[in-house]
Amino acid sequence: MLCFGGVDEPLLNLAHDFLRGYYFTPTQLDAGAPPAHLIQLHKTTPPALPVSDAGFEIEDGHCFTSGDQIVLEVNGSTIVVGPPEFNRTDVWLSQSTPGRHPLALNNVILYAVQAALRRAGLYQFHAGCVLSDNNRRAILLVGDSGCGKSTLTTTLVRHGWNFVSDDNLMLCDSAAGIEAWALRRYFTFDEATLEACDLMTFAESIGGRVPGKMEKFRFYARQAFPDRFVAKCLPGVILFPTLSRELKSRIEPLKQGDALARMIRQCPWATCDGAAAPLHLHALSKLARQTKSYTLFASRDVFEHPASIPGLIAQHVEIL
């Protein structure tokens, strides 16, 4: 259980609005039951923090380490993720007008929530995740933004596959193996991809533009394909799609070490959040071992004839 502390009414509404986009369930804290992790919000000036390195750039900010804790400067706000045994993240919200913009504050909340989840053993992972009715194990689609994760996920869903997410999920190290959990409630598409995936017919499932990424629209896939949503699953295959100029798409197997290296590249916090990194890396390593990995060289043929994707996968990919 994550708990926000120190919130006033406007901030509470902001946090609720933000969290509504994700699979979090609002709940009341039981008296006497400590939260798994507390995110304490402050409206005061942050204390001076001794930092032990020059840090590194992150999106919209900078990250430093300070002993066992990490310090994030994001949109003028300061986030201090405490040592693991404290189960606490403190956020000093920016006092500047740009830093108080809802988009900037959403970004700060996102960083704080992700850090808290890492300390609780839940690792955010940018991947699509689909599952066929014929298989027990799912396919993860992993790659940089623009490599076709959402397009491939949606194409497979339109051909009868089930889905967890198009791009945003959590990895959880369970007794059964590494599980993929749904995290964000909506897919994101630009207009061209909505048309290419023939999703304009689901007008009622197309939401507003994604804050901060105005070229993208929210697509509520669970509303469009209500019987196809799966909250969590065990991945058995990882596909790394990459756009190819070759005439025909092809799928090639990948060694576990190469797959793990690619996953580490996709998960910068696996090497940056020192306190959580060993377990985070362990989870990625376990995922590499429990899956078979492949590179999907996606040429124009799969985008011009998306119906060929399930066949291509069936021909080259071994799924349990």
């Binding site: 060694k255 576990q256 070490g257 793990l260 290296a261 910068p268 090497t271």
Partner: protein, 91 residues
Amino acid sequence: MTNSDLSPLEHIVATQLDDGDGVLVDLNTRQYYQLNETAMLIWRALENGHPFEQIVAEIMRVYTVDNDHAVSSAARLLKEFQSRKLVRLAE
């Protein structure tokens, strides 16, 4: 090189895969390194505090190579670990 008194630094996280390959992550520099099976075997030996001679013997046993070959491989990889600041001289 016969100096075997090397041990992995605390901020290096190692993970081994089913095929014997592995990955090392340096949490200070945020660099990661892919290790082949032989390099991973040597890394595990360092973690277990094995001396150079024992590492050489293990390479000879696992890969059925002669002593010169094993010494050369072990020395080259240990030098590589040192140059990347992944190990330190053991006390």
